[in-house]
Symmetry: C2
């Protein structure tokens, strides 16, 4: 009979995610991970593979957490501006039990030029966010909340670019209220013709 695992895999993965999120891929050692996850080195390797493989699993976990959060926050009744504002607010007012900033953006900056596998994953994740924004904008055009003259892909890219800016600057801004006017201005163009 196989011995049952002495740790909860999901909890351990969350803890690994947090330390990578806080201090990046390179700075995080296997010893940091063992300490933070509270499991034996051997269990870490057996369950998650090497550091790179564990890191990729934390990226996947992060993506699904963020996607679930967004799905929970956005409802059919919200206007386009309200919906997209929610996505910005999730970046600005993040759960204070987690590190500031965004694991995806951190990873994009740290590893884009150094790690092809990770770079491809981040590109895909960014594209998914852009597509989600594009879907909201298409609905917005149908409802007359977004000017019909816009190219949806360009508009989604513009909004996603601002979102990336926020996800970086939130790491160095003490007062989240500072982002209000930036978000307002970013979304103010939606009605332009």
């Amino acid at each position: 009979m196989a011995r049952s695992k002495e740790f909860n895999e999901e909890e351990a993965l969350d803890k690994a995610m947090e330390i990578f999120w806080k201090q990046g891929y390179e700075k995080t050692s296997i010893q940091d991970l063992v300490d933070q996850m509270g499991i034996h080195r051997r269990s870490l390797y057996d369950t998650f593979g090497d550091k790179h493989s564990l890191f990729v699993q934390t990226l996947e976990r992060y993506e699904s957490l963020v996607a679930a959060q967004i799905r929970k926050q956005i409802t059919e009744e919200m206007t386009t501006v309200e919906s997209i504002r929610k996505i910005f607010e999730l970046a600005v007012y993040s759960d204070s039990t987690y590190p500031k900033g965004c694991l995806m953006v951190n990873t994009a900056v740290e590893l884009s030029l150094l790690d092809d596998e990770v770079s491809q994953r981040i590109k895909t994740a960014f594209k998914q966010t852009e597509n989600l924004i594009a879907d909201l904008l298409i609905r917005g055009q149908a409802r007359g909340e977004v000017a019909s003259s816009f190219d949806i892909n360009e508009l989604a890219r513009y909004i996603h670019n601002a979102l990336i800016g926020v996800r970086v600057l939130v790491k160095m801004t003490a007062n989240p209220k500072e982002f209000d006017s930036t978000i307002d201005m970013t979304l103010s163009i939606l009605k332009n013709d």
Copy 2:
């Protein structure tokens, strides 16, 4: 008589800057620096101090290089949109002899939560860029090129936020033309009333 240095300090500093720029602070070892700078380990310590001290010196070098580039590109005759567009273009169409992306933004993401000294420096550098943009906007309001209803600080913060987005996304975008519409849209609000 003191023996003359066998290397050019500025060139060596540039080489250190490039490797930090490409692979970040944490991943760069003293051995990487020795190899890249082509100087002896002992000379590195004697001239630049430890890795952290050398890193801070490369940040200062980077700041002055970027500031000089901007000063060279922006003239009194340019419109507000043309001037600010130049700042974006410097981020998008960077000299291909240098790594993609921005050392300041990379460092903001990598070290903001981990290194107070560096974090303060980056905040100051970001503030300087925001102030430069604010100066251009004030001139723009005086010339009637920027709507007078805008709060200049908020507008500068909005533009700087988009610039940060570009400085991240340029690391993962093969075609710089993709940024054209984002920059156009970002600057399109200047005339709004």
